[in-house]
């Protein structure tokens, strides 16, 4: 019975992230529109877009290979599995031990690997420019992310995300320099990984500085729907990650009852809303940077992460 309940909770988490991801994207868009004194599309517009795209036929380029058709499913599966492994409303779910934070980052890496290949598949110049810039950004963002993982793991004594979240919730962590550095670096990496301003612009087409959108330019129909959904899931994943590590309030424990889960879920939605709001404010208040300024931006994140790790190597108390 307990096993079935545990499985059900894990299932709820998987469906919850999937259901909430487009809403979060819609919310960020709405807030951005409001901040620029526009009315903006409705909150559920992303759902409508997804449904419309799913129903449309796929237009494939003449020389697209099987890889091009498989990649959307791979990207979606990898991102979904990764997002389902990050604690949202509860920590210590039944499958949480199957992949630690390093593996979650690597799963996102798999998704990016597949998408970058798809960008090259049709053999167009836009796809190539997107892929080549994406891997350049990833080549700095991924090590920066790993350094953040190192910092967190050294503080919590574990790379298991559930254990880290539970440890952070206990409150005997206190204020630490390394944690502050990790938070700043994590926000920078999250912005870059989700192709947000100032690194990339999720709302552009036909602009030479776009990265992610250039890579997926040839996609249409259900394939595009899956890729858009994966992008929303990834944004949700990073906000959940920041939430569960740096604001682990009311995170339900492994043996919690239904009320604890409900409280956790309610606060989780609030955390997402707060994160989305801050992201929208940040995006409207800053200009996009040139693509070759991005390495400096991410290099700073890498150095902050490394500094955090070094501090912990020098003294466990910092």
């Amino acid at each position: 019975m307990a096993l079935i309940f545990d499985l059900a909770v894990q299932g709820v988490q998987m469906l919850l992230v999937l259901a909430l991801a487009p809403l979060l994207t819609g919310f960020v868009r709405k807030v951005k529109a409001r901040l620029t004194r526009r009315r903006g599309p409705s909150l559920i517009q992303p759902y409508r877009d997804l449904v419309r795209l799913l129903r449309k036929e796929v237009v494939l380029a003449e020389n697209a290979s099987w890889l091009f058709r498989v990649v959307p499913y791979v990207v979606f599966a990898a991102t979904w599995v990764a997002a389902a492994l990050v604690p949202t409303f509860a920590a210590g779910l039944i499958f949480s031990w199957s992949a630690d934070l390093i593996a979650i980052i690597a799963l996102l890496g798999s998704a990016r690997f597949a998408l970058a290949l798809a960008g090259l598949d049709v053999g167009t110049s836009f796809g190539g420019i997107g892929s080549s810039r994406e891997v350049m950004i990833a080549s700095l963002a991924e090590p920066a992310m790993l350094m953040i993982v190192f910092t967190l793991a050294l503080i919590a004594g574990s790379t298991q995300l559930s254990t880290i979240a539970t440890f952070m919730a206990t409150g005997d962590v206190g204020l630490r320099v390394s944690l502050g550095l990790a938070l700043i670096a994590l926000i920078m990496v999250a912005i870059a990984e989700n192709a947000r301003i100032p690194v990339d612009n999720p709302a552009t087409h036909l602009e030479l500085t776009m990265v992610h959108e250039a890579m997926v330019l040839e996609y249409s129909g259900r394939h595009l729907a899956l890729i858009e959904l994966s992008a929303s899931l990834k944004l949700l994943l990073y906000l959940s990650l920041i939430g569960c590590v740096f604001a682990p309030f009311a995170l339900a424990g492994p043996e919690a009852g239904l009320s604890a889960y409900a409280l956790g879920a309610a606060l989780y939605v609030l955390k997402l809303a707060a994160g989305g709001f801050l992201l929208a404010v940040f995006e409207t208040s800053i200009a996009k940077m040139r693509v070759f300024r991005v390495p400096e931006f991410l290099g700073a994140a890498l150095m902050l992460g490394l500094l955090g790790t070094l501090l912990l190597f020098v003294s466990r108390g910092l």
Partner: protein, 669 residues
């Protein structure tokens, strides 16, 4: 028993070499040679597995060969068995591939006799239990592989590669010779047993470490001793490239592990710093070099340099932990290093096979003239893709497991006492993370430019799928990549005796954790389950595909590429290998390679074309090797005078030399 079987492989392989001399000109001769090599390699594989899985005690024997007062000491223990497994797995895969690929060899008489001898040399290095046998088989391995590198010696580049390889191999053997001299001591006890019983004094042991690092490191390809590797490995026929990259570098690592962990006694605290620093530099430099190459096989060779760096990083951590007496942590680092050795052997062999298939199918290994091969060679493309994912350390394949273990070992290092290591290890960890991300970029580029997009040359357009033996070899390697990736616990447990023998402890038993989860230390600390991740991903992807096709839409229409409304019919407008690497070249290359881009724009009105030229500088070659080569050249010029002296002067030189020698003898205590 395993030792006897493994030893029987050596004469069998040498006999095959002789057979190859007989059949070298017959059109079907290659089938006999590679077929026998395959059978013998499988036999060796069986021997290695039976030693490893049975957890048998080490067994040794002395054959009355070699030096009369020494004999040939041979021994198989868990460490030797693990590397015997790697050597024979790589050997079997390469032989299977060559059963098909060998048909395209233009000069079989230059390949067939040396191929089995190369395999025999590598097997014997692993089994050797005295310095003489070790060095003899090491040289056999070096010379046989040199002959294979020179198989196509009419090409100028290959001759240069062979020359550089020969010089570096001699240098490596010389340093190993000196290392064994120091290990044996004044009494000259060259059997490993004698050395183990009386390890050298700390000062000598440190010298041995440095010499082993130079000797085995130059064979394995540690920066800055790697220069021969990216020249020599691609020059050989592709199945031999696979053996050199996949297996010979591992045999070199075996030499290092055997000398440093087994023979040189207790490590000093600073040894690991030296190893870690070199390893960190090697990983990042290797992959950055690889990113700048447009020759597919050379790219793979540079990526070997990177992976050797990852293995050495694990070894360095193991040394650090061992020196501090943290045997349990050393076991984790050592397991990571040895497992990565096996993983790299498998996926690098696979990738070289793929490169060989491409080279034969399109007659081209320059990526700038390939492209679109996924349509012409779908099966090769799939296998190559598996190799690319595995080498980029992405879950759920095997490369991720060993890098994950290495990261877990890095995370244990704050418990080290020495301050130097406290500062160095996070840096090494950051370099490892950087190299992992860059490797993914490198293999997106390798696969994307070679197999995806549109064909960049008529030859690539006419390419065809490769033969069935080659495909079998590639798919076998791909299957191993998946199996090690989803069931890593089995391999970690198989490694345990070897690790325990080297560092005095082992990782916890993995197969008890259920569901094939791997747990490096304790469950609350970290765990990874490749099987579940694989199942989750496959289930999520296939269920989504099924649901969407059932409920939403499954219609497909083919049309011209969109490309923002401006598609260009010329394949030259695609991203090329060079342009794909341009952002990374600008970020990292300006420092590491002094990369410079120069744009020559003609004045307005002039019909001359505009030009963009990129220059890269190999600082290791220019800073280290070129001065040495120039110095040798200058010295040779000076000494050249000695060839044109009169007979009187020669006689007086002889006389002076004689007097000087006698004086030395008289003064010598």
């Amino acid at each position: 028993m395993p030792l006897t079987i493994a030893l029987l492989c050596v004469p069998a392989l040498l006999g095959t070499s002789l057979l190859a001399l007989v059949v070298r000109r017959s059109p079907q001769g290659y089938r006999a040679v590679y077929g026998i090599s395959l059978a013998v390699s499988l036999l060796g594989l069986f021997a290695a597995l039976s030693q490893l899985l049975a957890g048998a005690e080490p067994s040794h024997t002395v054959l009355p060969l070699g030096l009369p007062w020494l004999g040939a000491h041979l021994r198989i223990d868990a460490l030797a068995a693990w590397f015997l497994l790697i050597a024979n797995l790589g050997g079997a895969a390469a032989s299977l591939f060559a059963l098909g690929y060998g048909a395209h060899e233009p000069a079989p008489q230059r390949v067939l006799p040396f191929y089995p001898a190369f395999l025999a040399g590598m097997t014997l290095v692993v089994l050797a239990d005295d310095a003489f046998t070790f060095l003899l088989s090491w040289e056999c391995m070096s010379l046989a592989s040199w002959a294979l590198v020179m198989a196509h010696h009419r090409e100028r580049d290959n001759r240069h590669a062979g020359y550089v390889y020969l010089v570096m191999a001699s240098f490596g053997t010389l340093t190993l010779l000196l290392a064994f001299g120091l290990l044996a001591g004044a009494q000259g006890g060259y059997a490993f047993e004698t050395i183990r019983a009386a390890p050298p004094a700390p000062l000598f042991a440190s010298l041995v470490l440095i010499l082993a690092l130079l000797g085995a490191g130059s064979k394995a390809g540690l920066v800055p001793l790697h220069v021969w590797l990216p020249l020599a490995h691609p020059a050989a026929p592709s199945h031999v490239s696979a053996l050199m990259s996949g297996v010979m570098t591992k045999v070199a690592i075996y030499g290092f592990v055997r000398i440093v962990f087994d023979l040189a006694g207790a490590p000093a605290w600073w040894w690991s710093m030296l190893v870690l620093a070199l390893a960190g530099v090697t990983t990042v430099m290797g992959v950055l070099y690889a990113l700048m190459q447009s020759d597919l096989k050379r790219l793979l060779a540079y990526s070997t340099v990177e992976n050797v760096g990852i293995v050495y990083l694990g070894l360095g951590l193991a040394l650090a932990f061992k020196a501090q007496g943290m045997a349990w942590a050393a076991a984790l680092a050592m397991t990571a290093a040895l497992l990565h050795g096996l993983n790299h052997c498998v996926f690098k062999s696979l990738l070289f096979f793929g490169a060989g298939a491409v080279l034969h199918a399109a007659g081209e290994r320059d990526m700038e003239r390939l492209g679109g091969l996924i349509h012409r060679m779908p099966q090769t493309a799939f296998a190559f893709l598996v190799g690319c994912v595995a080498i980029s350390a992405l879950p759920p394949l095997n490369g991720f497991v060993s890098e994950w273990l290495t990261f877990q070992a890095v995370l244990l290092s704050p418990e080290l006492q020495s301050w130097g290591l406290k500062l160095l290890v996070p840096g090494a960890g950051a370099l490892l993370a950087l190299s992992a991300a860059l490797a993914a970029a490198c293999f997106v580029r390798a696969f994307g430019v070679t197999f995806l997009g549109r064909a960049r040359s008529p030859a690539a357009e006419r390419a065809h799928e490769t033969d069935r033996f080659s495909r079998a070899a590639m798919f076998a390697c791909a299957a191993i990549c998946l199996v090690v990736g989803i069931l890593p616990g089995l391999f970690i447990d198989a490694l345990a005796p070897a690790v325990a023998q080297l560092v005095g402890d082992r990782m916890p038993v993995q197969t008890v954790a259920g569901w094939q989860t791997i747990v490096p230390i304790v469950e609350g600390r970290s765990s990874y389950n490749g099987l579940l991740v694989f199942v989750f991903m496959t289930a999520a992807a296939s269920l989504t595909a099924y649901a969407i096709h059932r409920v939403a839409s499954d219609r497909v229409r083919r049309g011209p590429a969109w490309d923002c409304g401006f598609p260009d019919p010329s394949p030259a407008t695609q991203y090329s290998a060079t342009s794909f690497a341009q952002p990374i070249r600008r970020v990292f290359g300006t420092v590491v390679f002094r990369a410079r881009e120069r744009v020559e724009m003609p004045p307005p009105g002039s019909p001359a074309p505009a030009r963009l030229s990129v220059s890269l500088q190999d600082l290791v070659w220019d800073g280290l090797y070129a001065p040495v080569a120039a110095g040798v050249g200058r010295a040779a010029d000076r000494l050249n005078h000695l060839q044109f002296l009169t007979i009187r002067r020669y006689l007086s030189l002889v006389f002076v030399a004689l007097v000087a020698l006698l004086l030395v003898l008289a003064i010598w205590p």
